[in-house]
Symmetry: C2
């Protein structure tokens, strides 16, 4: 089995150089490729199929919670972007500008959307007149552009794919409820489909989205101890409504401003999947979004009946799972390594001896366990094994997060954790921007969120010592 090692050996071990390990997996598992457009990536079929599964599940959840999909233009005229002061300050420095259309120089520049609040506002201002028109619960799937200086595939690219929900409501209470509802939709998706445990909480004022009165987030922890913001949900209150004059007539005939939210999740989730679950043999895909859930590798496939049996098994399994047979003329060991690299949750081996015994061998990607299963039982065993793998991956990720979550009561401890232990730091905070800035300056860690589930680490702010009961998750982040 020289050959199957070769593929694996080309990956840099995770502990040696995590960034290089990440890049190696993206290349070897054929997830993305560079293009000649600076900072933009090509999403290859295997990764795009993951995105389709993510999108399919989220879209179902969005529709079940009453949302409708729409499509807004990809361009925003400069004047429209400038209508909300905080928003334009936040985004203008990082947008791409179209200045020429065909052979004509444009009189007003168009930015390629970094996010579409302004377009939704303009549309809602026109279409919402009375309380009968509320709420409006719209979502769109599209790509957006942010002119990034340094980029990494999936994690930070000039263009990325995402969903952006934009809703308007009659009251502040309703918009707040929606903001939290959609955060929970994201959290459930990430935990139940991607097997990634998340911390749910609110961003500090400093880390809020440009124009929001409240930003909620789900934060995940990667294998190298760095945090990743997996999704955000924003409550804008009436900030945009006032700037865009989005008003409705209430039941008493009085003009009121609408209350607005937005929420989004991006292709960086694929980066999170790699960095939460992967190992030195490659990807480990959460079964529920894996493009291939079961790969059938025929053993001694030149022997009579083997390929026929593999095809027969494929036909049966295709009714309950996403399945592929690899009957190419590569050596089985080579195939094993290839599908380990691609993170396929279950490998099914079937050879002449198995056929004799009316059994197959199932090998789990997550823990390497081999199980012999009667051929008569595959329809029940495979779905339950996929669930087991999901649960085991979720628990494993949770254990890593727990190992890499520490509490600090003073700056000494805080710095020591960030530098030596890595991971999340739980620490009390007084609420002052000055302390938040100082923590970042001295440790490199940013506030990740004020978790909904508060804990008491101490009585005083980890930075200034002022009395407080607010606990915050901190960490270095992607």
């Amino acid at each position: 089995m020289e050959k199957d090692k070769k593929l694996v050996e080309q990956i840099t071990p995770m502990d040696e150089d995590f960034a290089q390990w990440y890049t190696d997996i993206i290349k070897k598992a054929e997830l993305a490729d560079y293009s000649s457009v600076r900072g933009c990536m090509i999403i290859r079929p295997y990764a795009y199929a993951m995105w389709e599964n993510i999108q399919g599940d989220l879209d179902r959840r969005f529709k079940e919670t009453g949302h409708e999909n729409v499509y807004m233009p990809m361009f925003i005229p400069e004047g429209l972007l400038q209508k909300e002061k905080d928003h334009v300050e936040g985004f203008a420095p990082e947008v791409a500008w179209v200045t020429q259309g065909g052979n004509e120089e444009l009189t007003e520049r168009l930015c390629v959307r970094p996010t579409s609040e302004t377009l939704f506002c303009e549309h809602y201002a026109k279409t919402v007149q009375s309380y009968n028109d509320l709420p409006k619960l719209y979502n769109q799937w599209c790509s957006v552009v942010r002119w990034e200086k340094t980029t990494r595939p999936f994690l930070r690219t000039t263009e990325f794919l995402w969903n952006e929900g934009h809703t308007v409501h009659a009251t502040q209470e309703e918009s707040e409820e929606e903001t939290i509802r959609m955060l929970n939709v994201y959290a459930d998706h990430v935990e139940q489909m991607l097997a990634i445990p998340v911390i749910r909480g609110e961003k500090t004022e400093k880390e809020r989205f440009a124009g929001a009165i409240g930003t909620y987030t789900i934060e995940a922890l990667m294998h190298d101890g760095k945090a990743l913001q997996a999704a955000t949900s924003h409550n804008f209150g009436t900030n945009f409504a006032e700037a865009f004059n989005m008003q409705y007539t209430d039941k008493n005939g009085k003009l009121q401003y609408v209350h607005q939210t937005s929420w989004g999740i991006t292709t960086r989730l694929i980066g999170a999947i790699i960095m939460v679950h992967g190992d030195d043999s490659g990807l480990k895909l959460p079964p529920r979004i894996a493009p291939i859930q079961v790969v059938i590798v025929p053993i001694a496939q030149h022997k009579e009946g083997v390929l026929e049996k593999a095809a027969e098994l494929k036909a049966r399994i295709s009714k309950i799972a996403r399945v592929k047979v690899d009957d190419s003329d590569k050596m089985p060991g080579w195939k094993f390594a290839e599908y380990e690299m691609k993170g396929v949750p279950i490998r099914l081996e079937v050879g002449p001896k198995d056929i004799e015994k009316n059994q197959v061998v199932l090998v789990r990607r997550d823990n390497g366990e081999k199980i012999s299963v009667s051929m008569d039982e595959i329809e029940t065993k495979i779905p339950s094994l996929l669930d087991d793998i999901h649960n085991a991956m979720f628990e494993a990720a949770k254990r890593v997060r727990e190992q890499k979550t520490s509490s600090a009561v003073n700056m000494e401890e805080f710095k020591d954790i960030v530098e030596n232990k890595t991971g999340f730091v739980k620490a009390m905070w007084c609420g002052d921007r000055a302390c938040e800035d100082k923590i970042k300056e001295e440790t490199g860690a940013t506030s990740r969120c004020i978790p909904f589930k508060q804990e008491k680490i101490s009585d005083t702010c980890v930075c200034c010592g002022k009395k407080t009961d607010k606990m915050v998750y901190w960490g270095r982040a992607y």
Copy 2:
């Protein structure tokens, strides 16, 4: 029933002003809205749901024929666009240029993709090495931009949504087979899902896609007698392969150029649905892509048991069709008009008298027919009625097309048809560009396609009188 008339009266009758009728429907049925971005439209939920149904069916057909989805960057560097001579000549005059990213002036302009051949070529040149890597069958769903001077919602907009398939093959034979296969996939979709009959054929050299050696098309006829190109499929031969150096090693170790195709269908299909099926009461949606297939309108809904029965029927029907109950406090007549405008294929009326008789009334949008059906039978009646409606709509569209298809043997006849009868003109053509240009100049009609199913109209070119056996469909077109 004054109220239900009001909604209808606001539409311009089709025969009075077809263009205004089209615009009125788009507004009244809430399909699209204008934005402050010149030439770009907002696709509203009802139209977007149609697009999702179109996309879902096509995506399934693409995958069944072995294609995989990917995502390419939305930007193309100017140098890359210029690599294939014909291609850049065709597209450069109508692209939007990004010249600034963040605060920096770009050293090389980026165009917003008008189509992505060049990016796919660059990627294939890197990833295809040997005959083992072929064919590559990729598709992407995205939006593209073409800087149009005059625009109309769905039919011609600066930005539009589409699919673009891009494939590479070992031989010319295989790429030709793929080009025709995908044309047929489109034709089947348009006929079987949208109930729009199409003519399948090849474009003349003049009407070919920039860079192609052969372009195939499906052409549909609108209610006003103008043609609409519903989809195209192109064979590039080795044109791009030579420009981008896309080579592979064949079985004999020899370097060969790949043979390439591309094919696309766009949101203009929604325009076609409006203009093929609609009438003076509004849209008529083909049942298989209608967002709402059955709308339940409760009659005398304040009476005991009516709303409960409506809800019960909805629960039952939702298992077999896309169904909605309108229990708002509008008058039934008003609701009738509203769902006629929205083109919902079946209206189900249920009131106290119906409940007494254990029946419901089904009203067909396509021909106005009313049918009383026992409540026990709705699970069988509704699906078969939806099929009947589909078939009837297809046949009605075909009849209109046949009525508006004429043959011309000389230019007199040709001009007379275009000016007075409108519709398709079948006429013989010698194959010379000069005659094609002259026909356009004198009649305004362009060659729509050289149909696969040839007919003999006469022995000689309709324009120059030269002997020929090539028959062409001509017409004014959107």
